[in-house]
């Protein structure tokens, strides 16, 4: 992982965008943010993400799922990290990191608030696979 990684961050919560961008950019990553699925898809032609951090629930409840699917299809190499605060609010339990059902097209699922170390850890795990 010596090359500069490109990160796409997608969330309709502007504070999460600011925070995640800061986490990555101060560590030398190149970051692009998008406030929604549509805006994220518009970057596909000009930006090839190595990592995508996506909020599960945005304008539509399934935006995160759909976007993860499309990113994986377009950029198979991209590591997709799904973030959510869904569990705390709706009581819905999402499969953890050892989810083998594969129904969420993500390499990792993290609950908010997310710290950089957690993302780092997930990236290390994915690399050593």
């Amino acid at each position: 992982m010596t090359e500069i990684k490109k990160v796409l961050v997608v969330d309709d919560d502007s504070d999460f965008l600011i925070q995640t961008e800061m986490m990555f950019s101060t560590r030398g990553y190149e970051v692009i943010t998008a406030p929604g699925r549509k805006e994220a898809e518009e970057t596909f032609d000009s930006f090839t993400p190595g990592i995508a951090v996506i909020d599960l629930m945005m304008e539509n409840d399934d935006d995160g799922f759909v976007l993860a699917y499309r990113i994986k299809k377009r950029f198979p190499e991209c590591v997709v990290i799904m973030v959510t605060n869904v569990t705390g609010e709706t009581g819905i339990q999402f499969p953890g990191e050892d989810d083998s059902s594969g129904w969420i097209n993500a390499d990792a699922i993290l609950s908010k608030p997310v710290r950089f170390e957690q993302i780092q850890e997930e990236l290390n795990k994915i690399e050593s696979r």
């Binding site: 309709d12 919560d13 502007s14 504070d15 999460f16 600011i18 925070q19 800061m22 986490m23 101060t26 406030p35 929604g36 805006e39 304008e59 605060n85 705390g88 609010e89 908010k112 608030p113 710290r115 950089f116």
Partner: protein, 376 residues
């Protein structure tokens, strides 16, 4: 007007009695006072206390006509069983010899009425009519109470969510600072602290709005009615919003139909209305836009119409607008903070003056919010 069928169980060991009740109530119907529903009766019968209990175990009737004097389990004992099993019904005791003793013990067990034998079909109908009316009212009150609880619960869950969101944001910024991010870059540091303060401010506003709303709802806020200079209050509201408006190059102007407009009102309530109207018009405006505050003195009422040149709303969005905590979510409103309570508060205040809040809006052109307050 709906039709309702109440189930009635007649418990008597005399077959003639059961038949008589059945016949009397077969075509009997009544109108429930509160709901206007037409109430009819579906009669089933039991020839003994034992049979009655077996039937009631299956399903509870709405009204039970209970003969006291039966072989085996007596009427009073059936009544006792009904109480122990907490059945939601009205019991009418049929007593052959209306003794004080029976009456007292039946009343203790919660009998609703007594019907001394022998009784006429008319007497029966009067008693059944009263019991049914009471039951319908009781159930309606209970349903209302349940609905109130449900609304309150929903309000609290949404409120909790609205309070959690800024907390999570501020927590995120504090994590960044703890991890040393932004400590050596003044621009980053400033953004982290600035956003935290903005979100805190939003949270404070939500709490204040919530207190306003609660006071209005509970009627606990003492209203101080006096003759109020409406234009002065509008002027103060405009001044309050001016720094934010200036920052974005938005001009605010007041147009009044006369030099002096006054009405009997609570000045605090007027302030809340005008602050909300003007601050919304600024918040949802475009940079370098305009806000026009029209104050119209009419014979019966004062009309405030605040027009902005902002993002506007679709018909669909306007429809949703007046709910509590409703904030129109789209790409244009994403970065605008608000409690989602402002309109609810305005609407409640307008109601105190027999007035109303209306809105006209065109997407990307702007909106006009109009509040009318009756003078008396």
């Amino acid at each position: 007007m709906a039709e309702k069928v109440l189930s009635l169980l007649i418990v008597d060991d005399e077959e003639g009695m059961r038949l008589g009740v059945k016949r009397s109530l077969r075509h009997f119907s009544m109108e429930a006072e509160d709901t206007g529903d037409i109430v009819k009766f579906d009669v089933t019968e039991a020839a003994s206390g034992e049979e009655a209990i077996a039937l009631m175990k299956e399903s509870s009737p709405d009204i039970v006509l209970l003969d006291n004097k039966m072989d085996g389990i007596s009427g009073i004992e059936v009544l006792h069983w009904i109480n122990q099993n907490d059945l939601d019904l009205m019991a009418i005791m049929i007593t052959a010899y209306a003794s004080i003793e029976t009456a007292i013990s039946a009343t203790k067990q919660g009998a609703y009425d007594f019907l001394p034998k022998p009784f006429t079909p008319a007497e029966l109908k009067v008693s059944v009519r009263q019991a049914a009316a009471h039951l319908v009212t009781l159930r309606q009150a209970r349903e209302l109470e349940r609905e109130k609880k449900r609304v309150r619960f929903q309000f609290i869950s949404v409120l909790a969510h609205e309070l959690k969101a800024p907390l999570a944001a501020i927590e995120g910024y504090l994590f960044l600072l703890r991890d040393g991010i932004g400590m050596d870059d003044p621009a980053v540091y400033e953004k982290v602290v600035g956003r935290s303060l903005t979100r805190l401010g939003g949270m404070r506003k939500l709490i204040y709005d919530l207190l306003d709303l609660t006071r209005l709802e509970s009627g606990q806020k003492k209203r101080e009615l006096s003759s109020v200079d409406v234009l002065e209050i509008a002027g103060i509201s405009m001044e309050t919003m001016k720094p934010e408006a200036d920052r974005r190059g938005i001009t605010i102007s007041i147009e009044a139909t006369s030099e002096e407009i006054s009405m009997v009102a609570d000045s605090g309530e007027l302030e809340i209305v005008l602050n909300n109207l003007i601050s919304n018009a600024v918040k949802y405006n475009k940079d370098s836009g305009r806000v026009t505050v029209k104050v119209m003195d009419e014979p019966e009422l004062v009309r405030f119409a605040v027009t902005d040149t902002g993002i506007g709303m679709s018909e669909n969005e306007v429809e949703k607008l007046f709910g509590e905590f409703v904030r129109i979510k789209n790409s244009k409103t994403r970065d605008i903070l608000g409690s989602g309570l402002g309109l609810s508060i305005m609407k409640r205040i307008a109601l105190l003056y027999n007035g109303e809040v209306t809105v006209e809006s065109t997407p990307d052109v702007g909106s006009t919010f109009t509040v009318t307050l009756q003078k008396t």
